[in-house]
Symmetry: C5
Subunit: 104 residues, 5 copies
């Protein structure tokens, strides 16, 4: 899975029929230090993620292993909202109530 | 899914039999700011996208999860035409009637 | 699918049993302007492509969606020979009888 | 499979239901010389790997071929802890009891 | 499939149960000119490849299409030992008895 930050939303009214009802979020990749990598993806959301939240997303056929995305032409899904992670014993990120807190 | 801009069409008469009838479009990748990334792909179209439109495409096995591409050697499919998206609260793109409008 | 130019052939006598009889071609990736990208792949051929021809190839599980490659450890297949494509209304490539013609 | 070094842990309480109980580890890719490549991934762990250990991880649908990850939206799994490897006849890494030893 | 050169071996005693008995080889990617690309992979071997040999390997779900790797968390398999290939009519590599010969 990749770490990403939800930065926006995307609207599409004309899409493959089975994609009706899926919520699309715009996600920027971040690395394990919390820095943006320059890559981005549009992912379906199945966990109720919001703009500003740090998430994990899965790609490829794994993105279809949810009730919502099964058998759909969907290759990226947000499957977890991140609470915190640490690297080499240092806290890199912790979600605080409504807002995120980045360890410096 | 990746954002892309349809820039052209591709014709092939000699192809794997199951690919007969599929429409191939040439797509340039764009990032969430709307800038071209330098990557491109040739994708099958199942939503009636036209040159100049901004689309979402899915890759890998997910590209075969449509009635038109099922069980075919197709690894990229345009599955949505983008109406608009925003990043950090700013509108980055909105489709206007027949033409697209880019937010500056 | 990716655009590529067939540049050569590859011979292997000692291979996984199910791969017997498959023809391997060496393919250089080209972008939508017709320029080499520096990437290359060895692909199975199911459409009778020859050296010098511009082709489309599919990767991943999609490469196994042909009668010839089904259930084989094959992750790249040439599934179409390109006749022509255009970008932004300009012809970028047209196959002419036995030889290819590049638009300048 | 890719070589990686486990550098940390990640916690998520709000995630796709089927992901409950999976342990997420933060992994930095390393190349065959043992150098970090700059890429990273968050992987599910099915072999009891710990921070500091060098592991192999598998991606894509292959990441779901374990009892723990089957049918889940999981696209990266640590499936082996590395004891040692060598390149061109030279030992590059050997795990020593609780700590790893890098050949210089 | 990608071209690679087998440069070493890797040992893991603690691994996902179904991976028992698989032989892991360290492979450096080479391009169609025979030059290393800087990428590498650890692949399962199903054709008896040895260090120094030039091989083809398949990735993703295609890596599981052999009797040995079926239903295992394996995403890269060496499925052919290369005898020779040519590019633009020039021989780039030919395997000679026990040793490989590179065309200059």
């Amino acid at each position: 899975m990749q770490l990403g930050k939800v930065v926006g939303t995307l609207v599409s009214t004309r899409k493959e029929e089975s994609m009706q009802g899926l919520k699309f979020l715009v996600v920027k990749d971040i690395d394990v230090q919390g820095q943006e990598t320059g890559k981005s993806v549009v992912a379906a959301d199945v966990v109720g993620a919001g703009v500003g939240e740090v998430v994990l997303y899965a790609t490829g056929s794994s993105a279809r292993q949810t009730a919502v995305t099964k058998d759909r032409p969907c290759d990226a899904v947000i499957m977890a909202i991140v609470d915190e992670w640490e690297v080499d014993g240092e806290l890199k990120y912790r979600k605080v109530s409504a807002e995120a807190e980045w360890a410096s």
